[in-house]
């Protein structure tokens, strides 16, 4: 009997032949995510006159299986920005941990600056210029950082399989909303949506905020209603979606995040009129 630990739990060589241990090797080519596994679907967001609204449902799918139904895909950053994740959930959780570290480092940095001897009361008036507390990363800075991170990982052929929306404010206190994806592609728009939302929700949101000027006229309530309406459309038509979702509003006063919203006033009446699927004839 072979008592070496290496042989524990393995088929006997004399019966099954030499064991093929190739999969155990930790040398050889480095493996990386080549496709997403557990995934979250759309994230949608729209700017309004003094902030941004973002929403994403609480579902994490394993292929077509609705695997986890209480996964929060929006996270605040420093109470000044929101980050919304579509795509692979494990990569999202990695990024979440990474952002926690970043936030802690940034908070320490801020602490040391505010204790500075010669920064006088003048801060008061400058504080008005930058709504975020002095020295803290705003949404534009955070988005830049994430885009560099994502682009770096794509260059290493080890991508983080996500599309990310970042909402908050830029340095000049204007609402900020931008996206970055697994290849490091970045873009910004008055309204943004990832995944299925790009097909279904984006056209609806663009009706309300086609341009920055349009978005600057939207009120908070209007923006929230548009987003809720889009979440409903997505639930109707996206098979990998859920009627429980998170919604976040970021304004100069901070982030308000509600993680247990339920879709209201659903009407499936339209479903009866759908024709052309399966055995159904006319």
């Amino acid at each position: 009997m072979d008592h070496r630990p290496q042989a524990w739990g393995r088929p006997r060589d004399d019966i099954y032949g030499a064991y093929d241990g190739s999969y155990l090797q930790n040398s050889g080519p480095k493996t990386a995510t080549q496709s997403p596994v557990v995934t979250g679907t759309s994230v949608i967001a729209i700017k309004f006159k003094d902030g941004v609204v973002m929403a994403a449902d609480n579902l994490a799918s394993y292929g077509s299986l609705a695997r986890f139904t209480d996964v929060k895909r929006l996270r605040p950053f420093l109470d000044t920005s929101i980050v919304g994740f579509g795509g692979d959930v494990s990569d999202m959780q990695f990024l979440d941990r990474h952002l926690n570290e970043l936030a802690i480092d940034e908070s320490y940095e801020h602490e040391s600056t505010s204790a500075a001897a010669a920064s006088p009361e003048g801060q008061g008036e400058q504080g008005a210029a930058t709504s975020a507390p002095a020295g803290k990363l705003n949404a534009a800075n955070l988005h830049k950082y994430l885009s560099k991170l994502m682009y770096r990982r794509r260059n290493d052929f080890d991508p983080l399989w996500n599309q990310i929306l970042v909402a908050g404010f830029d340095g000049q206190t204007k609402p900020f909303l931008a996206s970055v994806d697994l290849r490091g592609t970045t873009f910004s728009s008055p309204s943004l949506a990832t995944g299925f939302g790009a097909m279904l929700a984006q056209p609806i949101m663009r009706k309300y905020a086609a341009t920055e000027e349009d978005a600057a006229r939207l009120t908070r309530d209007e923006a929230v209603n548009v987003v809720k309406e889009c979440m409903k459309v997505l639930f109707y038509r996206d098979a990998r979606s859920l009627d429980r979702y998170s919604i976040a509003v970021v304004t100069k006063d901070g982030v308000e995040l509600s993680e247990n919203e339920q879709l209201e006033k659903q009407s499936w009446a339209f479903a009866e009129r759908i024709r052309g699927y399966g055995t159904q004839t006319v």
């Binding site: 080549q34 496709s35 885009s147 592609t185 873009f187």
Partner: protein, 265 residues
């Protein structure tokens, strides 16, 4: 990747960036299961050099597949100013192709120009900057920046200068160049309108005896009209071009920037 070095529609099928065109050689049911680090974000750029100015232009659509990611994506960047707002910049870079690579390329060139300014106390000349850009691109010869770059500015004599590049750094100075998705639509138009190709003096003879129309440098207002016409044409015939037109005019007085609307369909 062959597609990225060729703009020939016959070789690549219709000139869309979408990858789900039918695969001819793939065996039945075979699916490629590897991360593809590239996409084509569509869009088009254009640059024309004049006697004492350079005009550069690009549309502001960012597409992926049939989706419009945003209608406000600038493809023209001022390079090498002293400060981040590029107030005193004298060079413009346009990039089109894969947007993330374009952005990375722009930031690298800008950082290099800023270091040059810091070390030498003067801005980089377009000629030097053009040479450096070629090196940057070639350094990534085996994992290229998928970006068609055009660099514009004024040369040492104050004449308009346009340098165009392929993704791995081949470059030349030209009078005019169109890049990106609709390059194959715009470039023939430019050949005819800027370099007067296939224009002959009427009744000057038959066959080889035909006299070519004499070339003359275009004025700034002529070029501005030309640019708008070129893009209006491209928008009509190419789905990845549209939304907005960003134009920069580089003269000895600095860089002027204008935004014009294009069709959004």
């Amino acid at each position: 990747m062959a597609a990225m070095f060729s703009q020939n529609p016959l070789m690549n099928g219709p000139n869309y960036s979408i990858s789900d065109t039918p695969r001819i050689n793939a065996p039945e049911g075979a699916r490629e299961h590897r991360f593809d680090p590239y996409t084509d974000n569509g869009g088009s750029t254009l640059a024309i050099a004049g006697a004492d100015f350079t005009i550069m232009a690009g549309d502001t659509r960012l597409a992926s597949g049939y989706s419009i990611n945003t209608r406000h994506y600038p493809k023209l960047f001022k390079i090498g100013g002293t400060t981040a707002d590029q107030k005193d910049a004298t060079i413009v870079l346009s990039v089109v192709g894969f947007a993330a690579d374009g952005e990375a390329l722009k930031e690298r060139l800008d950082t290099i120009c800023k270091m040059y300014r810091y070390r030498h106390g003067k801005p980089m000349s377009v000629k030097a900057c053009a040479q450096r850009l070629s090196t940057i691109l070639y350094q990534k010869r085996f994992f290229p920046y998928y970006a068609y770059a055009i660099l514009g500015g004024l040369d040492e004599e104050g004449k308009g200068a346009v340098y165009s590049y392929d993704p791995v750094g081949s470059y030349e100075r030209e009078q005019c160049r169109a890049g990106g998705a609709a390059a194959s639509l715009i470039m023939p138009f430019l050949d005819n309108q800027v370099n007067f190709k296939n224009q002959y003096v009427p009744n000057s003879g038959e066959g080889h005896a035909l006299q070519e129309r004499e070339r003359r440098p275009l004025t700034r207002s002529e070029v501005e009209v030309l640019v708008k016409d070129a893009f209006d044409g491209a928008v009509e015939r190419h789905i990845e071009v549209g939304d907005g037109l960003q134009i920069m005019a580089i003269t000895k007085d600095g860089i002027e920037e204008v935004m014009l609307p294009l069709k959004k369909d």
